[in-house]
Symmetry: D2
Subunit: 349 residues, 4 copies
């Protein structure tokens, strides 16, 4: 059954495996006459590319995007936009060795249960490489949002168990982890080096904010804006939790504290994260995701082979230590896709 | 644009407002020859009904369900099942007084922004009463799951800021909050009484587990089982956060700790919450939701009226102090709907 | 799998069986602030009601519609509109006699093959009574279209094998068959009387036109306006063929004759039926449907019972002789639903 | 709004313009472990290729298909299958001349109305070249159907106004028009030569049959098998009418003649075209489509330019004289897609 499409009006369908010929996306429902070209998409793609940053994989994909349809003379035409990224630096040799073993924390065992067959090379469709297609589509959505003065930003608020004490989004570009707190960078650095040495991996927390979102986006009762954001963000491979606004802290608050006072020109606080009853209220949209540690580690782990026999495995492919910071732009992309879809849904009223 | 449907194969569409004629649901895609009757649905409905438990609203709806179609001689026929609950005890008088004021923490202001019109009586479509339709549909899904020996249970792990120290699901029925930890019941009791006296409200955390789910449910890459669960649970009015497995704690774990070892007959731990790469792995499915405090409180709050003029509001309708424990069965219902949909999707392969 | 919904933005889901408690529809995606009430819907319902006209069934349903949700103070609110018609005059006695026999030309045998169970009373879900829900929804769509000065009309161009020689839509209300040619009414009358006497039934052709449709509705490549109209009209029980514009006559035309010349203020002809490349061109939309004879006849026919044993059957329930003229308003309803959906889709661009 | 996808479980999304980089399709929902390779798809593609047959365009695309994803070691994996055909022989020069003129009978004027922008080269997305993607997807569906012993065949029953007097499908491969009646081939030949000389074009009728379809496919009430077939076939560019079984002839039949008698091992006739109440009855599925004449003719026609000024146009690109026989395999492809989708939907019950 189809599960590779996202969105109702701005609808994307992605395809491709980590070590197949290519990764790509078809965008159906993009409004016509949006200026767009490959360089604009490339810019966002480059923020997801492996090989940049200490916590990142040594795989060196250039991730060059090509637009195959839907754009004429630099403008979208309203017809489907197909964007593809060829896989050029795929090296499957490391995977063949362990092809009969299920890697712990990975989808090997569940894909086998689901389909009875799996492309074991680099995780196949379950690889984080799949997110390249999300970012390509997100870049188009981002271009649409920019026209409406909406800006989506994702920064890191925790990594390897070290929490940011303050949130200063402007500081994130000065460190390789996109941390919003410059004061914890050196501590995080040390934690990452320890993990590298130990052959282990780390997780963290990413916060995403969207500024400029008008009130009125989202719909009762299942397609609420927060429900769609939660589904979108949880669909990213490494994400294990999603919060909106004050999130899990809300559970311990009293109503008199949690309720955001309504003032003549805005709200007195933003525990709601910009969403009330599933509809944007005009305040900043705020979400946070929990990113689990990368499951591929060189430390030996217990597993079984395809015949159910016990085995040990040590994963030695080219992997990141932490999905952060590469996952940040993926989070931005998913939020861009949700917002664009809901902006267009609003028009359909 | 439609937003009141959920599921792809076991697909429900709900309708109705809090103080309108009725609340109901159409289930399209239910397999034929499932034994079903009103009493079976009623049993699950009764767990959501207002008026039971100290933290609950004094509104006394009987919530009697009637099946209008899709069932013949006690069996589903494969055609749409319409289930309706008439609103009998709706008292709109308290709402008329404040009909021109936007209640903080409620959808009044956002529905106005979305539609330019709103049924202000009892929150209209944004009322928690809407969840009655979810539970009616969830009861049918639950019946389907029971035939496959799958059991979904939701219990409380925190209320009013007091956290359970242990999880003993069997103990929940012995207390009015469905707390899984009997040792904190009296402390919670005191916290609830304080809130009642203060005219304030409380939030909490609900954990949902599903036992007996086979491996192989869920699909790449957007319709992952955890993505669908996150969207489903976040679509419940009061929910502000969703976690799967070790959730936000994952962010601070190392890969060597978080990865669940694969053993010949199962897994060595369950940080994954029973889901790997978006597909069930045969282990127990585990999710948690953060429930915000009920926004309707009698404490005075700042707001504005429909003309933007500042005002104060004190909400005096018949409300719960905490969405827990009534929300627990709603969480169960949503998880039942997701699992049933994915079981049927698996068959469609 | 769900199959009882229609439309992408103006989306309806129907439910109910011929001899169950009720027939109804949920409309999700109706724009807010559309003035609407039961009397407005009733007017269109009355044109579908049995018991009017010589070719019609003696069953006397009043078909009283009740709106259960989505309307507040006479205006739609943007939330789901549920409309229900209770079955009051259902008499299942005639059906019980033949409950184990598959009626030729009916869905008895195919519902059994599809579901392994069927509600045999009056055809259950496969009854033409199902179309009452379509007309109720179509009436709401019609109200939306009226606001845009779009008018949909269906008239009869053939009945019992007698073809209209001219098309004068204004003349249709003067005869019980809604024939657009007053000159053939008496001949049709005689043909109908013969069929009544013989216990046989008749078919015919209905033409539907939509005036005032703006250019630009419809989408490449599968959701073309003509594709959606064809699917919509063919989904009506008795319909066996659908044509757009010059339809099957196109097959024998040359390009130089079929192509409609484009003039500064319109087109020189309308072989296209108002649709080019699946998108409306601003000209009158024109479609025709072939309506098969009613399968329920009192003449004896060969069939089998549920065990596969040969039998003869004579259907004696209360049936129409011809689906025309009651089907005409159903055709109008389906065209209204398609046009409304595409008008809203256009906005979503 | 998206309109380039088809099917609910076996779901395809096509992309590409006539003179863009490529034409292609993503298939999402194909069952795993279906043996598949490019040569198998190529075989069906070759039947659609231009440049074969007297009524065909001189454009010489090789239409070489490449599978980019979803296939591993010659088997489908359950993940999206992307198939692309590069445009190699696109010559846009002839189109630039007339780029500001709306061609009669074409989508130029309606695309402009829909999107405000259009790729005028070769008709862009509205070109018949778009159907290459349908055939590539249909070839995969055909492979799935072959495993279930289902065979879909399309042959010509009329061309240029000359009707087949008998239907002998086996004879079609012996003539370039795929005519099912060998006795009219020379007459058709002469008619085609006349059209070539006159710079005119022709239409015709194609009949599609599906053998081996089990009873039980199709669903009430909008997703009936015949409704889906009608929508699928009408979505093909040149089609102006669709009939099922006895189609428009049904309108003149009596019930006693039209009803197919039910016998212990089948039906006494097949006026139903293998479908009762929207569900297959186990008999041969039969449909017919009316194909309009190709709108591109060299005879001068009246039109307007983009500013609304009157003009004359003579289309001189490389075009077919008749969409038949190339459209026949497109009809087969669409029927294969519908049947595969409904076979999988049946499983989802």
């Amino acid at each position: 059954m189809p599960g590779n499409s996202f969105g109702k009006i701005f609808r994307i369908t992605t395809f491709g495996e980590s070590h197949g010929k290519a990764i790509g996306v078809v965008i159906d429902g993009c409004p016509p006459m949006l200026p767009i070209d490959e360089s604009m998409i490339q810019e966002m793609m480059d923020r997801r590319r492996p090989g940049s940053g200490r916590a990142s994989s040594p795989r060196k994909e250039e991730d060059l995007v090509t637009i195959y349809s839907g754009v004429f003379k630099g403008m979208t035409t309203g017809t489907p936009i197909m964007i593809m990224i060829e896989n050029r630096d795929a090296d499957s040799s490391a995977y063949k060795k362990n092809s009969a073993l299920f890697r712990p924390g990975h989808g090997d065992i569940t894909y086998q249960a689901r389909y009875g067959i799996r492309d074991f090379r680099g995780g196949g469709r379950a690889s984080a490489r799949e997110t390249a297609a999300r970012v390509a589509a997100g870049a188009v959505a981002n271009q649409f949002l920019a026209q409406q003065d909406i800006k989506v930003t994702a920064y890191t608020t925790a990594l390897g168990g070290i929490q940011a004490k303050k949130i200063d989004p402007d500081s994130m570009s000065a460190n390789p982890y996109l941390l919003a707190d410059p004061d914890i960078v050196s501590e995080v650095d040390a934690r990452v080096m320890d993990a590298v040495k130990a052959g282990d991996s780390l997780g963290g927390i990413v916060e995403i904010i969207a500024k400029g979102v008008p009130a009125g986006l989202g719909e009762p009762v299942f397609d609420k804006l927060d429900a769609d954001l939660a589904g979108a963000l949880m669909s990213i491979g490494a994400v294990k939790g999603v919060e909106i606004g004050s999130g899990f802290e809300s559970a311990a608050m009293k109503g008199s504290v949690h309720n955001d006072p309504i003032l003549p020109f805005g709200f007195g606080s933003n525990n709601a994260g910009g969403i009330l009853a599933g509809i944007s209220n005009g305040d900043e949209i705020k979400a946070r995701v929990a990113v689990k540690p990368i499951p591929s580690i060189s430390i030996q782990q217990s597993t079984i082979d395809e015949n159910g026999k016990p085995a040990v495995i040590s994963t030695t492919g080219r992997h990141d230590i932490c999905a952060i910071p590469r996952i940040n732009v993926v989070c931005e992309a998913m939020v861009c896709l949700v917002l664009t879809d809901h902006l267009l849904r609003f028009r359909a009223m």
